[in-house]
Amino acid sequence: MKKKISRAQIVKNLFKNIDYFNLSLSDKKKIKKRENFDIVGKKSKLDSLDLVTFFTQLEESYYKEFRIKIKLLDIFFSFKDKNELSNLKSLIKILGKYK
């Protein structure tokens, strides 16, 4: 039986990835661990290379931690669905959909 992943577990894993990823970002670009922080879109300070690196890292970490394959890059590269990754809140929502 598949174990349900709680929101708290998702957030914990996400924040751990943010901490690690922030090491590679300049102070201006660092991701703040608050739900309304913009990651994709006009308001975001992250460039496309930052984002693909972050999403790949998150996909790999998610698989390692929960044995679930998530496809954030597909969403990121899809023009239509891109807004679903606009901030941390929406990202957590997407992660919650994978079971």
């Binding site: 690690y20 090491l23 300049s26 290379l49």
Partner: protein, 551 residues
Amino acid sequence: MNSYILKIISDFNVKPLENYLNNFNKKKNLIAETAQYGNIFNNLLKLEKKNKYSGLLLWTSPEKMIAEFAKSLEMNPFNEKKCFKEVDFICEILKKLSKHNQIFFVKWNVEHDLRGYGLLEWKSNTGIRILLTKINLYFAEKLKKFNNIFILDFDKIIFSESENFSRKLWYVAKIPYNEKVFLKASNEISNIIEAIKGNDKKIIIVDCDNTLWGGLVGENGWRKIRLGGHDYIGEAFKNFQFHLKALSNSGIQLAICSKNEEKAVMDAFKHHSEMILKKDDFISFKINWYSKSENIKNILKDVNLGMSSAVFIDDNPIERENVKLVLPEVLVPYWDDDPTESVNRVNSLKCFNYSSFTKEDRNRKKMYLTEAKRVEIKHKSKTEDTWLKRIQTKVKVKSVNSENIVRTIQLLNKTNQLNLTTRRFTENTFKKIFKKPNNLIKVIYVSDKFGDLGLVGIISLSINNGKSIITDYVLSCRAMGRKIEDLMFYLAIKYSKNNGAKIIEAKYIKTKRNMPTLEIFNKSKLNQMKKNHFVSNKFSEFKKPKFISIE
């Protein structure tokens, strides 16, 4: 302090490496810039002329650099000689570039899971791995005489975990490795550059009980300590000692700082049959009940080394915290009571790098041990003059030649305390500067009745229109305090006079660590005209120190 600007050239996306280097090295003034990835040869050709970069880091894939090697990856027949010919071409470019820049070249490797010819991978003229190994060896042999070219082996970083290769990142962004690889590589590169700048560690100060061996030697005696034998804990301590001995053989000094009974410790070194380290492997012992920070200060004073040159290893967290607090410049790594981790811990310290290796490095331990004998006589002598007379110092002054150039540049680049301007050189910039007829450089060899200290001093002058400027005044810490400093002023005056100078000047450039130089200049016969600016035209005031003979 001048910034060290590192240009990273790669045929894949190395932006994450640039980010890590820049984020973690702000205080060290290390700035990394990446060139547009791909187009390696174009990028290199652009840099053939003098440029703003201190160093170039090349991290490339063999199949992109060597067309003949690419055939092997396609499992097509290849010609080894053609591969070497292509390597020759790359070497020629690197040699040219090394005239202006330090070159760091990451050794080529193949993907971790490359299967190639399986069982035949190590069959000559068939296997891909054996071919690349030969190419790497050929490349290293070709460049071995170039002191400005360093080959970095990142295999231990790249192959530490199979997940370090990220095919997804490669397909998405042309980044072959995950962030862990770049983070570790950034750490490695910044440590290497620090070593080149002379900021590496020179001495390990160790505790004894539960650090060098298991148990308390003072309470139980040397027979009951755990070291070697049919005991995994004893084996772990013995292996740790073996690693310390190897570091010591490579020029890193060892000293003991232990709250203990001195006799008990010495008995252990003398009598324990499994003791790898012997008394003579240590250049200083402080075995008493004083505070460790005080003892460390005294050890470093005895051997003329700065606080930032030292690493302190102790299993006791209270002692470690105390040293960290009182002597923040000393590196105090985490150390717990599990000796099976000791070798890993010492290997993970990235502060022992060698940008050059000379005869002086190999003999350093012997030199420090003879220094201890000198100090002993100094304490017994009533006056400094009596001591100086007894040690019979002899000095040889030479020009720079092919035999001493590596040591000269190493001394210029590594000396921090007694260094007037802390100018750092590559071999080519050094040759270029001292080729000019008005620039003069002399190196100083010192020996005495206890032994040979080797090349320990450098004085360089720039002489123009009757004015002589001391451009470098460098003395190794192990030769300090025996009037060589005064002899160097005497020599500066002598060579200035011989070259028609009527006035001599020196401008002290302050760094974090060269305060002793200012003290020596303040005590000299030079007059401080403006802040840190010393002048004299009274050449006759500078005498050769008594009791030093020049051969």
